[in-house]
């Protein structure tokens, strides 16, 4: 069928609105950090215990900015979801048939994962700017370089496995995205903690507003633990689909190879988390490598190498 043009245009407008809302959220998060900083005296009195889980003692102004930032994030996410819904309606199919749609959906999963985390543990709201800034950057790059017109699917993608394989890949990727960012924050935080030992004089600067290292480490691990079985399932579902679409369940096509590499790296991360000598920073680095591999797989493998997965719709 021919895509519905007005819906397709609405989808593009929602994309722009989503990016705008997220950008405002980034500004609000920054303001929260700026106004939410407590007077140095209090920080000194706090004995250097980190204010991570206590937004309650934040000054009123900072708190209000924080609420505004979360509200803008949620509104942005609604517009963002609208991008995919209207695309899907315009083309009468699942809205992940090309790289533009796939990447947009992945970023949405990351935002939703962040919102859920932030609603459950308020201490994590502080990291909003570190999640939303990469999100805005990613969306701008997606809009600039990956954009593809709404259109019908090629024959090979017309399978119910598209829904299963690609949806789970998006979910897993989105979780890994959040996990990787949190691990980066953990690395920054521990670096900062090591340089500025607990002398009670910290409390200034953005880094010291991050949640405590232990909390970041746990969040990174929990999101990765959530993402790993999903990713495993996505790979298995991909293999089942490949068996009926390409005549073999595994053929070391570049995309398959990098999915495998990412899987092995994340298995390494989970092992590292429970192995003496690897806990803490080394494990966090492994998680960051995992995220780099995932992003590389999305960008490089789709755009540069040619393989069976070249449905990207990017030239």
């Amino acid at each position: 069928m021919t895509p519905d043009q007005s819906l397709a245009e609405l989808s593009d407008q929602l994309f722009t609105s989503g990016v705008a809302l997220y950008s405002l959220a980034v500004v609000a998060f920054c303001a929260q950090l700026a106004f939410g900083r407590r007077p140095a005296l209090v920080a000194a009195g706090g004995g250097g215990v980190l204010p991570s889980d206590a937004p309650a003692d934040e000054p009123e102004r900072g708190r209000r900015w924080g609420i505004a930032a979360m509200a803008l994030t949620v509104l942005g996410a609604v517009a963002h979801a609208g991008v995919l819904v209207t695309r899907g309606l315009a083309t009468d199919r699942l809205p992940w048939g090309n790289m533009y749609e796939f990447a947009t959906a992945t970023v949405l999963v990351a935002v939703v994962a962040y919102v859920v985390l932030a609603l459950r543990s308020p201490g994590l709201r502080h990291i909003g700017v570190f999640v939303l800034a990469p999100v805005v950057l990613a969306l701008v790059l997606i809009g600039l370089f990956l954009y593809a017109e709404a259109g019908p699917l090629v024959a090979a993608l017309r399978s119910s496995w598209l829904a299963i394989h690609v949806s789970t890949a998006i979910l897993g990727f989105g979780m890994f995205f959040v996990s990787g960012i949190v691990s980066v924050l953990y690395l920054v935080r521990t670096h900062h903690d090591a340089r500025e030992p607990d002398d009670g004089r910290q409390g200034d600067g953005i880094v010291s507003r991050l949640p405590a290292a232990g909390a970041l480490d746990r969040v990174a691990h929990r999101t990765a633990v959530f993402g790993f079985p999903i990713w495993t399932f996505a790979v298995i579902a991909g293999a089942i689909w490949a068996e009926s679409a390409w005549g073999r369940f595994w053929g070391w096509d570049p995309k398959e190879t990098w999915a495998f590499i990412a899987w092995v790296v994340y298995a390494g991360y989970l092992h590292a988390r429970t192995t003496a000598g690897w806990r803490g920073r080394p494990a966090a680095w492994v998680n960051v490598v995992g995220l780099v591999v995932m992003v590389f797989n999305l960008l490089f493998v789709n755009m540069v190498s040619t393989g069976l997965h070249s449905y990207a719709g990017v030239n």
């Binding site: 024959a155 929990r222 079985p229 009926s244 073999r248 003496a276």
Partner: protein, 553 residues
Amino acid sequence: MTVTAPPRESAAPTPPARPSAGRRVGDRLLSWWRRLTAMRTAIILLFLLALAAVPGSLLPQRALSQNNVRQYVADHPTLAPVLDRLYLFDVFSSPWFAAVYLLLFVSLIGCVLPRGLEHARALRAAPPSAPRHLTRLPDSGEVATSLPSGEALDVVEEELRVRRFRVVRRDGPADPAGTRGDLSAEKGYLKETGNVLFHLSLVALLLGLAGGKLWGYEGSILVTEGQGFCNSFQQYDTYSAGPLVDSADLSPLCVDLEDFRAQYEPNLTASSFTAGIGYGAPGEQGRPTSIGVNDPLRIDGNRVYLTGHGFSPSFTVTLPGGKTFENVSQPFLPTDQSTMASEGALKLPDAGASSDDQLALEGFFAPTGLVRGGVLTSVDPRPLAPQVAIVAYRGYLGLDSGVPQSVYSLDASQIERGRLERVGAANLAVGDSLDLPDGTSIAFTGYREFAALQLSHDPGQVWVLGAAISLLTGLLGMLLLRRERIFARAAPDAASGGSVLTVASLSRGSGQNGPRFAALAADLRNALDDRARGTSTRTSTSTSTRRPEGPPA
């Protein structure tokens, strides 16, 4: 059960007296084995495995495309032989890749088998007895109750059994009030079962893969409508077979292509490809069915796929003497999937008096042709107005020169050497013909569609699927379940006449344990209070409870 794999000692300390040579070798081997099966080694090997796979995606691989490798070798004449000696064009079947994953799997077996055996024992054994200092465990707290210690532990036991803990008492419930008593409880054995299942499934998966590689085969062939093939290596255009495949014992199966249909969206995106085929044992009347993209034929461990399609233009060649070759055709390979512009060749070695007088056509086929400035291009993948652009050659084709030739192109070196001479060229629509100077006439009579078919046989596939499912099951169990031990100790409290319960927990799994433990402690307190009130023959029902300490912040 420790939280991490126990640290392995690096080597047994050398005794002062020089031990026998055999003993030393044994010690050395043991120490290597321990190092290989340590978790750290597993992590390193996992990284090596990831790293080893990288060149396989960056360099062209023979298993994926012989052509790309050939092209790469031609472009990098000095580098390529070095890379080739390092197996970098066959990464996934290279000895060093195999070395990494085999080491990893040996490590895995060495690590997981003992763990599995220990777990099997633990499944049957009672939970271990409570440690001496309960309050040193990560979560612990005390509850005072007016109940005597034995009865207080009864309440704890009931509460834990309701929560599906396995509970043992190490006091003897019949003890009169006033003695100390211990209770240990455990649940979540399936978490460890999941771990062992997951790791063993990886081994099963590898075995399935290996079996498929050894006993599997795959053949591809282009079949034009009205033709067919039977399952034998001589018939395939290309095939690959595992080392244990006996070419005499391929399943007897023949497939005929009856018709092929491609459908397109208004914007010319291909929406479906369908091949009507007949299949059956050789000599049998074929059973009709249809196959398509995402929809292969599966029979008796074989699968037949439709992997591509294209057009075979057909020509009628009439020689000056009146001899004709009626409707000869040859598949032309698509060079552009979006317009199905295709290229190919037709060789007629018998179209002349001698081997130096052979005839050949090389050409371009456009399903919907458009001639602009004398050049034919294709503008639509559907065969709405088929046209060909052909060049005719006469001379020696070199078919019997011993060098294998592609059937889809002429041997360019024969043309360069002047052995094949260009004798005419034309753009033809269906029905048009090209007349050569010697009086030969070549008529473009139409086209038929061809399908690229692939037959695959992989006996390991079902195993691999089974292993993958059990792997995922094990993974979910290992990651989502929690393993939890609860210990309780009751001691008489002389001051109140009741007793004091110390409760502690040790857990492994995702999420934080603190809140969960606090909730359990609160439930225990309520249950104890209820019981105390219900059996309140005593004078005092004061239940001064102390909140269990929360976890360290």
